[in-house]
Amino acid sequence: MSEIFSSIILPAVIFMGGLGVLLGVVIGVFAKYFKVDSDPRVELVTELLPGANCGGCGKAGCSDFAKSVVDGENPPGKCPVSSPEQVSSIARALGIDAGESFARRAVVCCGGDVEQMVRTPNYNGVLDCASAVLVAGGPKGCSYGCIGMGSCARKCPFGAIEIINNLAVVHSELCVGCGTCVAVCPRGVIKLVPAEAEVHVYCNNPDKGPDKRKVCKVSCLGCRKCERYSAEKFGTSGFLASVKYDAAELPTAADVEAIGCPTGALLTAKRHLEIETNNPEFAPNEDK
């Protein structure tokens, strides 16, 4: 027994132990000379973030945002994707204020699908919105509306945008408001609105009414009917009506009913989806 110990185990232990200690010292020396300060909190926050890397916060990705949160540059609430619980857990972990959470949704402010909008000549080229606008402003008649080639839908990290009849439509129950589509759209027709807003003006053309009317049946004519109905909830800039999203009270479906927009540019999101899908079943249910 002691023979085995002295001839095998002891030398092995001494040898390996000695080597281990030696290498440990070497590593220690290197670690001292090449020391880098890193903040473990960045990693912690990164883990707590959803990891969608959507860039909705304006940073290059979740880890970049985490760094800015730790540095105090941004509040955790700036992340559009995180749920309020996630945000508060990050805030708790860092012991800071969560900041105001901006729950927002994207809306494609255009109703000009294939049936509604004049389509000028046949288009032959790259099927991508930003490329299409470079060719004489794209194939649709209106130079402010949705081009409908689905660049936003392809880029949406959450699959919330669908192209129906050459028009991008947002499924708001899937949308988290990251804003990727807003950055992609060459026409700027997609807007981020408060998540609770249900009424939108589905037109983006600031031209005079008759000019718009020539190219699109569902354009906003700028008749100010909505503004006359409630100047608190609606406004008009140029010849284009808009919902005042920062107002104290947001318009409801009943308001839309009462106004009765002559062209149908003013709609609830639900009704818009119904019209576009031509099938009320696809519209989000009330309980969602």
Binding site: L134, A136, D211
Partner: protein
């Protein structure tokens, strides 16, 4: 200098479009168009800032009268193409496909002109007087970029300009407007060239002409010496008329990436501009008309027309006796770099060199096929880029890769897309990348 004993010069790269359609109109003398009922003078006809209208709806104007005033240095005046009343500021289809603002002039059919400006004895005047006249007359480059001429002719004092080149290459297929101009008004072109030479104080004045315009070359060569201008025959090779390639062909200098011709000591002007300079300086007439080639296999009577700025394209097609078949494409400019139009209501502007109606069969049909790396675009690119790689990178939205591979140096001349056997929409990709990269660098 590459110039020696009438050698036919050229650059490296480029293409030789087959059956280039010039025979349709190259022998057709320029006809003067009759008066139209209405003219739509686009406001944004020049590179830079659009001029400010100085007339109101209902005003009575006379031919040559100023109707829009340049709003800043890089801007150009606009003048009434005929006498009549101002119909107001209207929205018409613009040459870039998007609606544009234009001043409508309703003709009174009298075509009364205001008193012309007095002729300048340019040989004994200083540059400033001549430049002022050019600016007053609203001259812009008539080759396509429509950069205000007075700006181009006022290089910063630290740039030494020793060579002045006039572009009579007209390398675009189908177009013969410059060709006819050189054949029919050689003295005006040459004198205009000499005036520009005087402004810049340059002795070396060249007019580069592709050898397929033999009559223009002989016509000009016989009288060019009297004006101190040298005629340079160039090979028939597209894009011979591109500034950088023209400078390379004639002087052997390379304009550095991102630089302007003046960085290589050169100024390049179109021969049409030379004629307009003559009209402005000697004739005292502002720029209200230009020669336009109206052509295409489906046009009943293709030809060259002297058109007032603001003439709607549909009216021009009527002048050409309509069409024999429905065209597949309406293009303002040449088939290589011109812009496809949505509407026939677009008016002629100062840089419209041609109105081209392509039949469906002649127009390219872009496909979605993959690149087979045949490399033809690489040998065709006059900027020596690798368009096929750029195309693939841009399709995958790798703009960083595209930028690394010098996409910003692309001229958008279309040589790559012309030779592509897969008919890939390369130029559209390249434009997309350029606009995207520009947008991103602005953001930063």
């Amino acid at each position: 200098m590459k110039i020696n004993n009438n050698a036919v010069l050229s650059f490296k790269g480029g293409i030789h479009p087959s059956g280039n359609g010039k025979d349709l109109t190259s022998a057709k003398a320029v006809q003067t168009a009759p008066l139209m009922e209405r003219y739509f003078v686009l406001l944004g006809q020049n590179a830079g800032k659009a001029p400010e209208p100085v007339v109101n709806k209902g005003d009575v104007v006379k031919k040559y009268q100023l109707i829009a005033q340049a709003s800043g240095f890089v801007s150009a005046n606009l003048h009434a193409p005929t006498s009549g009343t101002v119909g107001g500021l209207v929205t018409v289809p613009g040459p870039m496909g998007v609606p544009a603002q234009a001043i409508e002039i309703v003709s009174d059919n009298l075509d009364e002109a205001v008193e012309p400006m007095e002729s300048i004895d340019w040989r004994n005047s200083d540059s400033k007087t001549i430049l002022d006249r050019i600016a007053r007359c609203g001259l812009v480059g008539m080759g396509g970029a429509s950069f205000p001429t007075h700006v181009k002719l006022s290089p910063p004092p630290d740039k030494v300009i020793d060579t002045l080149i006039f572009n009579g290459a007209e390398c675009e297929p189908y177009l013969t407007a410059d060709h006819r101009l050189m054949v029919e008004a050689p003295r005006k072109v040459l004198e205009g060239a000499a005036i520009v030479g005087k402004i810049l104080g340059v002795e070396n004045i060249f007019i580069g002409i592709e050898v397929n315009k033999a009559d223009a070359i002989t016509e000009l060569q016989t009288i060019a010496d009297g004006y101190g201008v040298k005629i340079v025959p160039l090979q028939v090779q597209y894009p011979q008329g591109s500034e950088k390639q023209l400078i390379d062909a004639i002087t052997g200098r390379e304009v550095r990436s991102g630089g302007l011709p003046m960085d290589a000591g050169c100024v390049v002007q179109n021969v049409g501009t030379a004629k307009a300079v003559y009209d402005a300086v000697v004739g005292g007439i502002p720029l209200i008309e230009r020669v336009v080639t109206v052509t295409g296999e489906v046009v009943a009577e293709p030809g060259n027309w002297l058109l007032r700025i603001g003439t709607p394209v549909m009216k021009v097609i009527e002048l050409a006796k309509g069409v024999t078949d429905d065209p597949g494409k309406l293009i303002l400019g040449g088939p290589m770099m011109g812009f496809a139009q949505k509407s026939y209501d677009v008016p002629v502007s100062k840089n419209t060199s041609g109105i081209l109606l392509l039949s469906k069969a002649d127009a390219v049909n872009y496909g979605s096929g993959s690149c087979i790396r045949c490399g033809r675009c690489v040998s065709a690119c006059p900027m020596h880029l690798v368009p096929c790689l750029l195309g693939c990178a841009i399709e995958s939205e790798r703009y960083d890769l595209a930028a690394q591979n010098h996409v910003m140096d692309c001229l958008e001349c279309g040589a790559c897309a012309y030779v592509c056997p897969a008919h890939r929409p390369l130029i559209q990709h390249l434009r997309r990348a350029k606009s995207e990269i520009r947008r991103r660098s602005q953001k930063k």
